[in-house]
C-alpha cells in the first residue's frame, strides 16, 4: 500500500474503485491508527470496528463483482459523536447519554454509507457541542496534533484532530456557532459550515436547532467538496432541509474566475492576534496579486453577533435538552425517588457545568417577563444581521476574515472564563445566525508553529465559490 497517511479521499476512492487498493486493508489501517495515535490524542469516544470492516468488505465484494460503487468507495471516515449511527454509542460527549445506542442512522451517516464510505468511529467533542476547546467532554478533551498542550478547538475537536493526524482523510463535525471552522483552524485543516438546510439535521442531536448544521473536515479543498457533495441535499425527514440544484462541486472546483472579496473592518478589530492578522493580510495580498478584487466593507452588526448567538442557542438548547430526563434512555439517577427528584438528580449528575450554565441561560431568556427583552429582541436583530449579509453579497462574492481571533490556546487557559471562551466564536457565529456558508482554510502559521485559519463566507447555497477560492489559495500558497 502507498503511504496511507498521504492519500487523499479522492485518490483512495479512485484506487479502491480500480481494484488497486482494498477497502478492508484501508479500514484496518485506519482502525489501527485510531487505536494507537487516535488513542494518544483521545480523539475517539468509540470505534465501530466490526461494522467498519463489514462495510469495507461489502465495497471490495462489489468491486470484485463489477457492481457500481459510490463516490467515497472505501474511504475511511469519522463522525462526531452527536451524529446518530445505528449500533454504536452516540454520547454527545455527555454522561447523560450513557449507553445510548441509536436504532437509526442520521441521514448524513446513511448517505455516507450509501456512497461507499467506511465509518470507523465516533469522535470526541465538547459536551452537547457546547464549548470551544473540547474541555467540556465527559470523556476528557481530545488533544491537538500540533502540540500536546494545545486544545484542538471545539466543539468538533475530535473530528479536526483525526483529520490533522491523518487517521482519516475526511471527518464530519457539526456547527452551531463555529464548531467546525474553529477546530479546523486550530488543527490546521479545512472545515466547512454549509448553508443552513443543505445537509439534513435528521439524526444530529440538537443543540440550537435553528443554527445547527453538519459540516465536513478534510485536508484539502477537493476532499472537502467531495464530502459535501455526497451528503448535501433535501431530506424529507428534516422539515428545514431545502431542495436546491447543486453544481458538481468537485468537477467545477477549478476556475479562472476572479472574485470580488470583501474585507469587513469589524473582523479586524480589538482582540485579534497580530500574527493571525498578518497571515490573513498575506492571503489577501496573494489573492489580489492573482487578480481578485479585495475591497473594504463594513458589517456594523458584527459586535452584536455573540450576544444574539448565546441568547438564541441557549434558548433552543434549554428546550432541546429537556428530553434527557432519565425516563427512556441514558443515565438515570434517583430511581427509587419521586419524579421531580429523579429528574433533578439525573440531570445534576448527567450534565456538566457548561451545559447546565447554558440550560439556565436559555431557560431564563425564554421565561415570561424576559422573553421580549431577550429572545424576541435577539430574533429581530438576527433577522437584521441576515439582511446585512444579503446586502453585502450583492456587492461582493465572498468575505474574507480570520477564522478565529487567536491560534489554538492551551488547555485550561480559558476554561474558567466563559466569556473569553465565547469570544473565540466571534468571527464564525455570524454565519450560523445568518444561515450562510463559511469555510476555514489553513494558511500559514504563527511564530511558534501554530496554524492559522483563514475564513471565507459566501451567500446562501454558494458553497461552490468557497471551494473554488480555497482551491485557488491552496494552489497559490
Amino acid at each position: 500500500m502507498p503511504d496511507y497517511k498521504n492519500l487523499t479521499a479522492t485518490q483512495i476512492t479512485a484506487m479502491v474503485t480500480s481494484g488497486e487498493l482494498s477497502a478492508v486493508d484501508l479500514a484496518e489501517k485506519a482502525l489501527d491508527l485510531a487505536r494507537t495515535e487516535g488513542k494518544g490524542l483521545n480523539a475517539f469516544i468509540s470505534l465501530c470496528e466490526d461494522k467498519a470492516l463489514e462495510q469495507a468488505r461489502a465495497v471490495d465484494t462489489a468491486i470484485k463483482q463489477a457492481q457500481p460503487v459510490g463516490p467515497l468507495a472505501g474511504v475511511p471516515v469519522a463522525l462526531k459523536d452527536n451524529i446518530c449511527y445505528t449500533g454504536s454509542l452516540t454520547s454527545c460527549g455527555s454522561h447523560i447519554l450513557d449507553g445510548f445506542v441509536p436504532p437509526y442512522d442520521a441521514t448524513c451517516a446513511a448517505r455516507l454509507v450509501d456512497a461507499g464510505a467506511v465509518i470507523i468511529g465516533k469522535t470526541n467533542m465538547d459536551e452537547f457541542a457546547m464549548g470551544s476547546s473540547n474541555e467540556t467532554s465527559y470523556y476528557g478533551p481530545a488533544k491537538n496534533p500540533v502540540g500536546e498542550n494545545l486544545v484542538p478547538g471545539g466543539s468538533s475537536g475530535g473530528s479536526a484532530a483525526v483529520v490533522a493526524q491523518r487517521i482519516v482523510p475526511i471527518s464530519f463535525g457539526s456547527e452551531t456557532g463555529g464548531s467546525v471552522r474553529q477546530p479546523a483552524a486550530f488543527c490546521g485543516v479545512y472545515g466547512l459550515k454549509p448553508t443552513y438546510g443543505s445537509i439534513s439535521r435528521y439524526g444530529l442531536v440538537a443543540f440550537g436547532s435553528s443554527l445547527d448544521q453538519i459540516g465536513p473536515l478534510a485536508r484539502n479543498a477537493e476532499d472537502l467538496a467531495l464530502a459535501y457533495q455526497v451528503t448535501c441535499g433535501r431530506d424529507p425527514n428534516d422539515s428545514t432541509s431545502v431542495a436546491f440544484d447543486h453544481p458538481d462541486y468537485t468537477g467545477e472546483i477549478d476556475t479562472d474566475r476572479k472574485f470580488t472579496i470583501g474585507v469587513p473592518k469589524e473582523y479586524f478589530a480589538e482582540g485579534l492576534d497580530p500574527e493571525v492578522e498578518a497571515a490573513v493580510r498575506d492571503a489577501m495580498a496573494v489573492l489580489e496579486k492573482d487578480g481578485h478584487k479585495v475591497t473594504d466593507i463594513s458589517l456594523p452588526l458584527t459586535d452584536k453577533a455573540i450576544a444574539i448567538y448565546y441568547i438564541v442557542a441557549c434558548a433552543e438548547a434549554s428546550s432541546n435538552l429537556a428530553r434527557f430526563d432519565g425516563v427512556r434512555y441514558g443515565l438515570r439517577e434517583g430511581r427509587d425517588k419521586e419524579l421531580a427528584q429523579m429528574y433533578s438528580e439525573t440531570r445534576a449528575a448527567g450534565f456538566g457545568d457548561e451545559v447546565k450554565r447554558r440550560i439556565m441561560l436559555g431557560t431564563y431568556v425564554l421565561s415570561s417577563g424576559y422573553y421580549d427583552a431577550y429572545y424576541l429582541k435577539a430574533s429581530k436583530v438576527r433577522e437584521l444581521l441576515r439582511r446585512e449579509f444579503e446586502r453585502t453579497f450583492e456587492e461582493v462574492d465572498l468575505i474574507i476574515s480570520p477564522a478565529t481571533p487567536t491560534p489554538a490556546f492551551k488547555f485550561g487557559e480559558k476554561l474558567d472564563d466563559p466569556l473569553a471562551m465565547y469570544l473565540s466564536d466571534m468571527y464564525t457565529a455570524p454565519a450560523n445566525l445568518a444561515g450562510i456558508p463559511g469555510i476555514s482554510t489553513p494558511y500559514g502559521r504563527v511564530g511558534d508553529g501554530r496554524p492559522v485559519g483563514v475564513q471565507f463566507l459566501a451567500g446562501h447555497f454558494n458553497e461552490l465559490s468557497l471551494f473554488q477560492i480555497v482551491r485557488i489559495l491552496e494552489r497559490l500558497a
Binding site: G203, G208, S209, S319, D325
Partner: protein, 482 residues
Amino acid sequence: MAVYKGFEPVIGLEVHAQLFTESKMFCGCKSEYGAEANTLTCPVCLALPGALPVLNKKAVEFAMRMIAAVGGKVHRRSVFARKNYFYPDLPKGYQISQFDKPIGEGGAIEYHSGNGSRKRCRLTRIHLEEDAGKSLHPEHGEGFTRVDLNRCGTPLIEIVSEPEMESPEEAYGYLTKLKQILQYIEVCSGDMEKGHLRCDANVSVRPVGSEKLGTRTELKNMNSFKGVERALKFEIVRQIDLIKAGGKVEQMTLLWDEKKQVAEPMRSKEESHDYRYFPEPDLVNLVIGDAWIESVRLSLPEMPDVRADRFVSQYDLRTYDAAVLTDSRALADYYEQVMTHFDDARAASNWIQTELLALLKDNKQELHDCLVSPEMLGELLSKVKSGDISGKMAKTVFEAMFATGKAPDVIIKEKGLVQVSDESSLIPIIEKVIAAYPDNVAKYRGGKAKLFGFFVGQVMKETDGQANPQTVNKLLKERLDG
C-alpha cells in the same frame, strides 16, 4: 339564568378534539386507540436524540375543515411553537403547539340553549397541537406509574370559545353541537370516554346587569358533557356563595371529582407553569394557499342545521323529526337513502324513529352495524303501503331483517306472511263462513251490526290472519248487506 339569585355566570370552554388521521401529527406511526402499550412508536414520537418532526398534511386539512365548518378564518401563515414542561408522558419535554399565530381564528357555534331557543357563541381561535402520551397511575399500591406513548403525537385541535355562555345548560348545548359538527365533517369521533374529546371550562359570575367580568376559575378533569354541566353548576354556586359571604373569588384551577361531585383546587405547585413558548425551530412556518382553503371548503358536507331545514322543506317533516333524523350524518344519509326507494317521507321518518332507533338502542348497536340496508327498509315500507303486508306483519319482518340481514321478500316467504288481497281466493272462504253461521247472518241482517266483527274474525281465522282486512271488509259487506 334566573336561578342564580341576582348573579349571572359567564362561561367559556376550551375543547381538545383528537383528529382521527391515519398517522400521527409529526411521524408515520399509526394513530390508533387500544393497541398494546408503546407499540405505535418511532424515534420521532419517542423523542430519541436527533429525531425531527415532519408535519402531517392531513392533520392540517382536518383543522381547516373545522375552521371552515364554523365559519372561521384560516390564517395563510401560522407558526408552531414549543410549550415546554417536564412530564414522563411528554418525551421531548415540550409539546408542539401553536401560540401567538394559530391556524384558525373566529367563527361561531350555534347551539340549543336548553330553554328551546338557539344561541350563538363566537370562537376565539382554533389551533393545532400534538397530544401527549398517557400516564397510568398506580391503582392499588403498585408503587409506580406506567407510561404509554401510543397516543403521543396524535393530532389535536383546540377550540377556544369566547366567554359568552350564560348557563351550564348552554355549555352542554354548545358541546353537543360541537361534537355533532366534528362528527359531521368526519375529523373526530367525539368519544369523550376514550378521551377523543376533552373539555376544560372557565367560569366567573357577576351581578346581573354588571358589565365587568368577575374573577374566573378554570375547571378541569370532567369526562362527560353532563360532567361539565354539573361541575359548572357546582362552581357557580360556590363562587356566588363566596361573594355573598363577603369573600373574593381567587383565580385558580379546580379539578372536578365526579365521584364526590365536587371541584377541588389544584395544588398551586402544579399550577405555576411557565411554559416558555417559543417558535418551533424544527418546523417551517405553515403556509396555506387560497386554493387549498377553497377546496377544503367545497369538500365540506351539508351541515346539520342546514340539512334539518332542508328536510322540513323537501320532505315536509316536522321540525322535531328533522332534528332527530339529522342528529348524525349517518342517520340523515340513511333516511335519504331510504327515500330513494320509497315515497312516503313521513312514514319513513316514523319508522326509522320508532322501530329502527329502538332496535339499535335495545341491541346497543350503532347505525353502521345495522344489517338492514336503506334499500331493504324502503322495500319493506313499500309493501306496507301497497297493502302486501300489514303494519303488524311488517314489524315482525323488520325484526327478522334486523337480526339476520335477509331481504324482506325472503323473510315474508319464509314466514309465509303474505297478505291475501286477491278477491278470487278470499270469496270462497267468505262464502264458506257465511254458510256456516246462518243464525248470525240472520241476526246481523236483523240489525245486530256489531256481529260484523265476528264474521271478519272468522275469515281471519280461516286465513291464518293473512287476509287483507280491507278486502275482507269490502267482500263481507257486499255479501251481508247486499
